[in-house]
């Protein structure tokens, strides 16, 4: 495995934030608002909190095995057979997620900007681009992402301020009129989305400085939470809770409202840039996780040849995964979070952690800052960086 790739904690954080955010803020607000109405922002808070819990689990796991990625330490924890089973399950998760993203990417562009273009055009194009990126390795993805991230963040902030004059914050009241249940219901989807940072467990083994694992996850989760909150508040304040829940992409429609001095209009192009930038990173990351995971699983030395065929499979799945975007939204509101949260994003990692603790696997938390050392772990060996200690 090409283990000499190294990324800084900043790159890692930006990767993860961008990955979650770009798609999150475009798709999520409608779903959350439908459940929680004007309390959607509370859902965002709840989701962020949940995200922190998940991040905690992930951090602890990665800290125990700083140089191993998810598939590797599954084997470490559970042994070769079960570990591989878990690994396989995760590969499945990556594949599924990637297909969903790729498809959503295409759908968004088609619905919002180019309705005559068939969706497979976008799917194929983006998959080819992503394949190229993944083929070039993580560092490339990380560097490109910095650019995209800047674009995304800038767009979000600009859009927020430009729509500010159309906002009526009384739309956010009354608070908790219906109680907490809708809030929780609305927080499931964002939480599932935030939980995607579990992908971090595939890349953080490449952190230049393993001591930063915690920081990466912490900043990521909070950053995503803030952005989500901002978008939800902005959108509900502008359109009112009812209209927001009718819109398929409230963030995008919010962009269309902007009209400054009768001159600055049609800023939805900005939203498109944001979407393309963010979704691309996400696709790259999940694609990367999938391919490198597969290489891991097959015990290959070089994952790069797998990129191509994996791409074909991704395209296929992206095309068949659902008929109509609205079906996806319905599927997304409850079954999807249930599915991801209980297993890949929550249940499994927790299980892994518990077993790791019980079986005393992995160096626990005492990750010293040693940027110079080159601890390449070859596939599937247990790497012991530090003296095994008790918990925490």
């Amino acid at each position: 495995m090409a283990e000499k790739t190294r990324i800084s904690w900043v790159q890692a954080t930006l990767l993860l934030i961008n990955m979650v955010t770009a798609t999150l803020i475009l798709v999520v607000p409608a779903i959350t608002t439908e459940a929680a109405r004007q309390d959607a922002w509370l859902s965002a808070l709840v989701a962020t909190f949940g995200g922190l819990l998940l991040a905690f689990i992930f951090t602890k796991l990665q800290q125990r095995f700083p140089r191993e990625n998810l598939l590797q330490f599954s084997i470490t924890i559970l042994g070769p057979v079960l570990g591989k089973v878990v690994g396989f399950l995760y590969l499945w998760y990556f594949l599924h997620l990637a297909a969903i993203i790729i498809r959503s990417f295409g759908d968004f562009l088609v619905i919002s900007f180019m309705p005559e273009t068939p969706v497979w055009v976008f799917i194929i194009i983006i998959t080819i681009l992503a394949a190229y990126a993944v083929h070039n390795g993580l560092e490339v993805i990380a560097r490109v992402n910095i650019l995209f991230f800047a674009l995304v963040i800038l767009s979000i902030v600009i859009i927020f301020f430009l729509t500010a004059k159309d906002m009526d914050f009384t739309n956010l009241t009354p608070i908790l009129a219906e109680g907490w249940k809708p809030v929780v219901r609305g927080s499931l989807f964002p939480l599932a989305w935030i939980g995607e940072i579990v992908i971090g467990l595939m890349i953080l083994s490449h952190l230049a400085n393993p001591g930063e694992i915690k920081r990466v996850y912490l900043v990521t989760t909070i950053g995503v939470g803030i952005l989500l909150l901002q978008v939800i508040i902005g959108v509900v304040a502008t359109f009112g809770p009812e209209y927001t829940s009718h819109l398929i992409f409230p963030g995008l429609t919010g962009t269309r409202i902007i009209s400054i001095g009768n001159f600055i209009e049609r800023l939805e192009a900005l939203a498109m840039v944001m979407w393309v930038g963010g979704a691309f990173t996400k696709i790259c990351l999940v694609y990367y996780a999938g391919v490198y995971g597969m290489a891991e699983w097959f015990r290959l030395k070089d994952p790069r040849p797998l990129v191509g065929p994996a791409g074909i499979i991704l395209v296929f799945f992206a095309l068949i995964i659902y008929e109509h975007f609205i079906d996806f939204l319905k599927f997304a509101t409850v079954p999807f979070p249930m599915y991801t949260l209980t297993t890949f994003e929550g249940g499994l990692p927790l299980l892994l952690l518990v077993i790791a603790i019980l079986r005393k696997k992995g160096g626990a938390g005492n990750v010293q800052k040693n940027p110079g050392s080159n601890d390449d772990s070859s596939a599937s060996t247990n790497s012991r960086l530090l003296e095994p200690q008790g918990n925490k």
Binding site: S112, P118, Y132, A133, P174, F239, E242, T253, R256, M272
Partner: protein, 400 residues
């Protein structure tokens, strides 16, 4: 390292400007016999809009816009029918105005608005207006100062002398609980005098002119009031004065003039121009019924004074302020009465205010709000302040 090229999308759905028929304004009516939708489109004629300065007098023969009209069961179907008449593809991306005829509006507008909110091309910021009669006539009207009627109406709306409602606002009002939508009303009027009008005089004794002094200016659009909706159906109108009251009630007024008779010389008047204002609505419950306190504050400048008044004395100003407040309150009451008792549509959003303060109680009231609304108690508190009085200190009076 390697930086990836961003794919700039946009090949399939490319539209060349020369292939487009740019729709500036759209009118929707309901055909009386068939109940079909009549779609009237005001399309820009490219040549005439490129000139920077307006050429004097687009005579009746040369219109800068092209009007086409067609019917269908749905808007989309109508556009398909019209496509046979238009040499270019219809493009909604620059549509700034949507006018609805009252027949259609009475039947319910949410269905037609669905097209505009759902489709990708039309924009949520286009203005919504209603007219008594046919929207088609509004689109066919003349615009003296602007190149197109759509632009004229756009400017009229932006002057904020009436309600300013775009599609997003309308949908928001329609979907929100406890508030009903309202939209500005547009009508036709002969505005201004044509330059070609001949004045009476000793030289003019041509036949067609003395008793038949017809104004040659074709009718133009004019803001005439407000249309009131219950949910999605048109139910009533407010005239211009009442519209102002509505603006004050909604807290959207930034302009307006109040003219009252002079305190000591009732036959003379003075006028105040309103600069700023705010409206605060506070709901409460008294004896099991909702009660609202509406506090309106206005600041204005004295603009015109026809009577001798000691403007320098604070007592005078105070008195004037009280008079203005009283006048305003009367107007606001009048408007409110019409809304509440005559039409029973809560276009101000009292229900919504109530909901935000008492969500649980609102749940019980909401289904019956139409019946409850006419019975709610309202207390008005109007405060005005006069800030400036222009360049003159005392009113102009000839030296005696």
């Amino acid at each position: 390292m390697i930086v990836l090229l961003l794919l700039t999308p946009g090949c399939w759905s490319r539209k060349e400007i020369n292939d487009l028929a740019v729709i500036l304004a759209v009118g929707l009516d309901q055909e009386p016999q068939s109940n079909q939708l009549r779609l009237t489109l005001q399309i820009a004629k490219p040549k005439s809009l490129t000139a920077g300065t307006k050429q004097a007098g687009f005579g009746p023969g040369q219109k800068p816009t092209w009007i086409i009209s067609g019917t269908g069961d749905t808007i989309f179907e109508a556009t398909r029918n019209l496509a046979t008449e238009s040499s270019r593809d219809l493009y909604w991306g620059h549509t700034i105005l949507l006018v609805m005829g009252d027949r259609l509006a009475r039947d319910g507008v949410n269905q037609v608005l669905d097209f505009f909110a759902r489709a990708q091309q039309p924009r949520e910021i286009m203005w919504i207006m209603v007219t008594r009669g046919k929207a088609e006539d509004i689109l066919r009207s003349h615009a003296e100062l602007e190149s197109t009627p759509a632009q004229r109406i756009g400017f009229l709306i932006r002057s904020k002398t009436g309600l300013t409602v775009n599609l997003k606002d309308f949908v928001t009002m329609m979907t929100k609980t406890g508030i009903n939508p309202a939209a500005p009303e547009v009508g036709l009027a002969t505005v201004g005098l044509s330059e070609l009008k001949k004045l009476p005089g000793p030289d003019n004794d041509e036949k067609g002119d003395q008793g038949n002094r017809k104004n040659e200016m074709p009718p133009q659009a004019k803001l005439t009031g407000t249309a009131l909706f219950r949910e999605a159906k048109l139910v009533g109108w407010l005239d211009r004065k009442e519209t102002r009251g509505l603006l004050w009630l909604k807290g959207e007024a930034t302009k307006g003039i109040i003219t009252i008779p002079c305190p000591n010389h009732p036959k003379e008047k003075l006028s105040v121009d309103i600069m700023r204002g705010s409206t605060e609505i506070t709901p409460s419950i008294a004896r099991g019924k909702p009660v609202f306190t509406i506090k309106i504050k206005m600041e204005g400048d004295l603009k015109e004074v026809h009577c001798p008044l000691p403007l320098g004395e604070p007592a005078t100003i105070h008195h004037l302020e009280k008079e203005f407040a009283r006048d305003m309150e009367e107007r606001v009451r009048g408007t409110f009465y019409k809304i509440q008792k005559q039409y029973a549509v809560d276009v101000i959003g009292l229900g919504n205010h109530f909901y935000r303060r008492y969500p649980q109680e609102w749940k019980i009231l909401a289904p019956r709000w139409e019946k409850v609304f006419p019975e709610v108690g309202v207390e008005f508190q109007v405060q005005t302040s006069i800030i400036h009085s222009g360049f003159l200190t005392e009113p102009l009076e000839p030296w005696k």
